[in-house]
């Protein structure tokens, strides 16, 4: 059973997981390269670089949990697909189905 078959949300989840993971890792690597300090008054380009570095510092915090959660969600989607849609079906849904069968 392929969880991505006819399921665009699952594809979006996978894309989100990969994107968040790549963004987090890239931001971390860029920051690890070192942030330059300026002894003189920074130019506009240098100010933009500083702003970008500050933005990069904020990226790994939110993106890594999002990536992990997206992978967990994909596992859940795969489990539901493998169970034929029965996994996690609530009591109300089961009762509705049994009522339909009794009729």
């Amino acid at each position: 059973m392929n969880p991505f078959r006819r399921n665009p949300s699952a594809i979006a989840l996978a894309v989100l997981a990969v994107t968040a993971l790549v963004a987090g890792v890239w931001a971390n690597q860029t920051l690890a390269g070192g942030v330059r300090g300026y002894s003189e008054t920074p130019t506009d380009e240098q100010l933009a670089e500083i702003a970008l570095m500050q933005l990069l510092q904020m990226i790994p915090g939110p993106t890594i949990p999002v990536a992990v959660l997206a992978v967990i969600a994909l596992c859940l989607v795969g489990a539901v697909t493998a169970s034929g849609g029965r996994l996690g079906t609530g009591v109300r849904e089961r009762r509705r189905v049994s009522d339909r069968l009794e009729r």
Binding site: P3, A12, M58, G61, V66, L69, V77, T81, G85
Partner: protein, 206 residues
Amino acid sequence: MSESRSAQGIDPRFDPRFQRGYVPSPESDGGAAVETPPPKVMRPARAAALPVPPAPGRLPPIAAKSTEPVEQAEHVATPPKRPEVGSADAAEPVSSGEIAAFDEPEPESEPEPESEPDTITRRWIVAAWVVAIGALGLGFWLFWSVAGDRGMYYGSSSIDPVLQQAAWTIAPPLMQAGGIGVVVLLAWQAIRRARRNARDDETERP
């Protein structure tokens, strides 16, 4: 006594006061009311819900008042109309077809209104999407508005200090919550879609 009544066309199984052709007599009126058990009115559909009728020895107060037969007759429910009331028919239990005749007609099973709950659910989902993407966008805007301010690096920032503090403290959790919300919503939609696909596969199977 009973012979004369049968000659009048009165059925001895039922209270003569409520039958056509009954002429009340002063000497027999009270005795007939006391001795004759109350007529059994068949209400099969509601029989279980009604209280148990009194025993033949204990009469209800309505039977003791025999001076107003016509008014009491209005309170007695009419027995079910049968094509022919014979002695053999009276002893037979009421068939299920006759019981069904007294049952209230069941309302036709209406199709389940699926469109309205789906619409309401969709509204809530859209609201959740708006909140998640709004948190993501607000967090990014907060952070970028402060990080992009040049005056902050010179010590002469024109941005409100409260906004600056919010950018460093609130923006990252906002973006994280928005991202997690997007993941949860996507997962929920993916699970629904997987269930729908499985249902469709089952119906398509011969």
